[in-house]
């Protein structure tokens, strides 16, 4: 049986993007955050009077963080395919532009969900027995899936516009830093933060994903999480349309 075009493209994307170097960045970095920050900051958080172990706070945050990492994978795939000529080569092959685009989006999604599952396994190994309820777990992975598409679209949008390798890498590093640290992945939102940071926290989609993932992980979902997901879904839809338009209009033939 011949797999459909989209499946073939996803298989290809996974196969060429699962080299050891990429995996270290994709999974090793968040895993190290989980271990070093989880244990390193535990004493600080405990001194501040936290009621639970910091690791159990950080673990769902790092799972949510996989959505961002998945997005960077998507953007990097498009970037690398343009840089190394495979985009134009695939588009003179038996694929449409839309199939190629969705191939990247679904691959990002797979990386996001796969990475989150590995973070969950790591958290279980570090924390002992997991208490993730089934419903909460489904919401957790749903939020990460939506987040992967959001950040995948964002990075695709950027890679469709940016022409220089240095500029693309600089934007990616800056965004990764801003999105990660102006969110509730590593620490909870606090009104004691400077106002500008509070605004950044509030508009950062990763905050919504991390909050929902955390509450799902602990079986404490609230109506606010529902609103957060609804907003994220709308933002994702808008960004996906923008990214698709930008990509379809970009001239791959001049690469």
């Amino acid at each position: 049986m011949v797999p459909p075009n989209l499946v073939r493209l996803i298989y290809r994307n996974v196969r060429v993007n699962t080299d050891p170097a990429s995996l270290v960045i994709l999974l090793g970095l968040p895993a190290m955050y989980l271990i070093f920050f989880g244990y390193g900051f535990a004493s600080v958080v405990a001194a501040g009077g936290s009621s639970g172990p910091y690791l159990s706070f950080l673990a769902p945050g790092m799972m949510a963080f996989q959505a961002v990492m998945a997005g960077t994978v998507g953007g990097s795939m498009l970037w690398a395919d343009r840089r190394w000529g495979m985009l134009a080569q695939l588009l003179v092959g038996p694929f449409t532009r839309i199939e190629y685009l969705f191939g990247i989006m679904f691959t990002s999604l797979l990386f996001g969900l796969g990475g989150a599952a590995i973070m969950l396994a790591l958290a279980i190994a570090l924390l002992g027995v997991s208490t993730v309820p089934l419903g909460g777990g489904l919401v957790l992975f749903g939020a990460i899936a939506l987040g992967s598409i959001f950040f995948g679209s964002l990075m695709l949008f950027i890679s469709a516009h940016v022409k220089s390798n240095t500029a693309y890498n600089s934007i990616q590093v800056l965004l990764l830093f801003l999105i990660s640290f102006a969110s509730t992945v590593f620490y909870p939102f606090s009104t004691s933060l400077p106002y500008a940071l509070q605004v950044l926290f509030a508009i950062n989609p990763l905050t919504y994903i991390a909050d929902t993932a955390r509450n799902g992980y602990h079986g404490a979902l609230t109506l606010t999480n529902g609103y957060e997901m609804a907003i994220l879904a709308v933002e994702t839809a808008v960004l996906l349309v923008l990214a698709t338009r930008a990509y379809l209009r970009s001239d791959v033939s001049t690469e």
């Binding site: 196969r15 060429v16 190394w84 000529g85 134009a88 080569q89 588009l91 038996p94 791959v252 033939s253």
Partner: protein, 327 residues
């Protein structure tokens, strides 16, 4: 050259009528281009850098849509039926393209993308590794091999799948002489089995060796289109004289030679070398030798030979009436 008698009638697999394309809306990279290619034909596109060859390949392979004109590939309109066209063509683009994987994975993965069954892929990978001499670096990543090796992989990869038309945009760029011949012979053997090939190159010997017909493109327009022999006759019917003098004499000798030969020869000069296309080589030799004696110029090199495709090319793109133009 392959025989043109292999294409008796039949629907052309490529037909272009008055194709124009502009990237910026001002200058036309393709301007009023019309031609057709028969099934099983090897069609060469010759032209200088930026003449429009690659743009034409991109239009035929659906990467860009012509601004105007009618283009049919295998009976399909690239605007509406791009997918049907791409299903049946192979393309070796001018630029590098490879996966971040080993050489053999590059081949296998490409076959997979083209829906080639696993067992067939396995056989083809081995056959292509053997044919293109990829064995010694088959397990190395494409990033870690030389430019010429990458080019071999890129060309070999295209033979992983079946196709009706193969587009090759300067496929021998960076290949050594041996590999160039391997590639050209591979193409010839596929052509014998019915493959149609559209081929751009700077190497005129290759075009002479491989092509049934050639279109010379200059500034987006086809300025000559015929079989290689007819082009030689059209632009020749003449002999070529190659001539070299010392660098210090070139400045006074070549203008005097041009004046002495008049309309009976066309002269193209490059530094201290000149190429003359002449009707009567004996008469031209008398003129050259007499003039060199009169001016006290030492002739360093003087030969008479048959016209080559290079002569045709140089003559066809030379500006009419220019200093080095055809007479």
């Amino acid at each position: 050259m392959l025989s043109p008698s292999r294409f008796p009638g039949g629907e052309p697999v490529i037909s272009a009528e008055r194709i124009r394309h502009s990237y910026d809306g001002r200058k036309f990279a393709l301007d009023d281009v019309s031609f057709s290619v028969a099934r099983g034909e090897v069609f060469g596109l010759l032209g200088r850098n930026g003449a429009g060859k690659s743009t034409l390949i991109k239009a035929m392979t659906t990467l860009i849509q012509p601004t105007s004109g009618t283009l049919r590939i295998l009976g399909h309109d690239p605007r509406r039926e791009g997918r049907k066209i791409r299903d049946r063509i192979g393309v070796v683009q001018q630029g590098e393209s490879f996966e971040f994987a080993s050489v053999e994975t590059n081949l296998d993965l490409y076959g997979f993308l083209w829906r080639v069954p696993r067992t067939v892929r396995k056989q083809r990978v081995e056959a292509l590794i053997d044919r293109f001499g990829l064995g010694e670096f088959r397990r190395r990543r494409s990033f870690d091999i030389s430019g010429g090796q990458k080019r071999r992989v890129q060309v070999a990869r295209e033979f992983m799948h079946d196709m009706d038309i193969l587009f090759l945009d300067e496929p021998t760029l960076g290949l050594d002489v041996l590999m160039r011949r391997v590639l050209l012979d591979s193409i010839r053997s596929e052509v014998q089995r019915g493959l149609t090939v559209v081929f751009t190159t700077h190497n005129l010997e290759e075009a002479d060796y491989l092509c049934d017909r050639i279109a010379v493109i200059e500034e987006g327009r086809i300025i000559a289109l015929d079989t290689v022999d007819n082009l030689k006759r059209l632009y020749g019917g003449k002999k070529t004289i190659d001539l070299t003098v010392s660098a210090s004499d070139a400045g006074r000798f070549f203008p005097a030679l041009g004046a002495a030969c008049g309309a009976s020869a066309s002269i193209t000069t490059h530094g201290n070398a000149a190429v003359l296309l002449v009707e009567d080589p004996k008469e031209a030799l008398v003129t050259i030798v007499g003039l060199s004696q009169r001016l006290g110029v030492q002739l360093e090199w003087l030969t008479i030979r048959q016209n080559t495709l290079e002569d045709v090319f140089l003559r066809s793109i030379a500006p009419p009436g220019g200093a080095n133009g055809p007479s």
